[in-house]
Subunit: 191 residues, 2 copies
DNA sequence: TACGATACGGAGGTATGGTTCCGCTTGTCA
DNA sequence: TGACAAGCGGAACCATACCTCCGTATCGTA
């Protein structure tokens, strides 16, 4: 693909890139998308200019983090798929519970999942497609076992999880994402 | 309550207030919360200063609109409660469907429902409490009829509807709020 | 109609936060 | 080690939007 001579990246640059990503993860997880680029730079111990050298815009930085998150989701799904012994519906439900817990701990991902900005999503498109395909297989297995309602599909998952994420940041009586998720899981059960 | 002599409000001022509210409804419905105060003023055919004379902050204006919306929801619920003939679960489900349709047509309300800002919610607190109480009665009736799962509660509604609202603005395969809502309604059914 | 109180308009103040620019530093290679 | 390229820092720039201020216009009343 790349036709450039690909001079190796300088060691300090690579180190800083990692530091920036780690700092961004921490800062956005704590403060959500409204966290500022200066915060990321300070936390990483670099100047803002350096952040912008590695990521041309804030959305590009967020996109990288979101793509990483989706790769984690995929790893989760692969692990679930590898479990041949558990009851298929329960395996799938536990997979959802683990992913939801990841999201709950990270305000940045939560807001990104609800973001309508193309730029943020662009990088994550391939991983997202893989995740849906893995979900499709998990779902097919549960449906074959007769424990999941037959008209449920992998395409239903994104909007349910997106809706769940939206409520995770809210407080007040009745706001409890674990309860919310269990209701959703019940909706998927065959009856 | 009010101890001021309450000089009657000038006719033009009252007229402008109504114009501003109508304009704000239209502008926020179209563009969501990121619509600007200048847009509202232009649409209403007044200056920004006039908008700020009637509503001290953007949040106060939004709060007024949200409170109005909740009053509509309450009216909906009262109408549903008045229906003694329909199957109680279906009556409740239709009530949810109608409210969801109202929200779907109004990006402003949608974003407001997901907003974590206290200021926006403040005005709507009483109407919100009334709505929950009305929902409680609708739910009790359906549970008494045996068609709604007995462990479902009125406190579950806000987070489900909030989650639903969050997905209404998204596009892409699988994003269809009507489908999402039907899944939620199925989750409430007794089995 | 005249007058005081109330309301209006919209240019500009201010705060916020993403992004750029350029002089300085540091790594890499001969 | 010397020189060049690559990378760095962070002050300044700029765009966006909320909100304020005050001179002008309009309403309601005697």
């Amino acid at each position: 693909m790349s036709t450039t001579p690909e001079r190796p990246i300088r060691a300090d640059a690579r180190r800083n890139r990692e530091r920036i990503l780690a700092a961004a993860r921490a800062v956005f997880a704590r403060s959500g998308l409204e966290a500022q680029m200066d915060d990321v730079a300070d936390t990483a111990g670099v100047g803002v200019g350096t952040v912008y050298r590695h990521f041309p815009t804030k959305d590009a930085l967020l996109g990288e983090l979101v793509a990483n998150r989706f790769e984690e989701f995929c790893a989760e799904a692969e692990a679930a798929l590898a479990d041949e012994d558990g009851e298929p519906f329960d395996v799938f439900a536990d997979h959802l519970r683990r992913n939801a817990a990841l999201v709950a701990a990270d305000a940045g991902t939560r807001h990104a999942l609800m973001s309508e900005s193309e730029a943020v999503w662009a990088h994550a498109v391939p991983a997202r497609a893989v995740l849906i395909e893995l979900n499709r297989r998990l779902i097919a297995r549960a449906q074959a076992a007769g424990t999941m309602r037959p008209d449920f599909g992998a395409d239903d998952i994104p909007q349910l999880m997106c809706g769940l994420s939206a409520t995770m940041g809210m407080t007040g009586p009745g706001f409890d994402w674990r309860r919310h998720l269990e209701l959703l899981i019940d909706a998927m059960r065959s009856r």
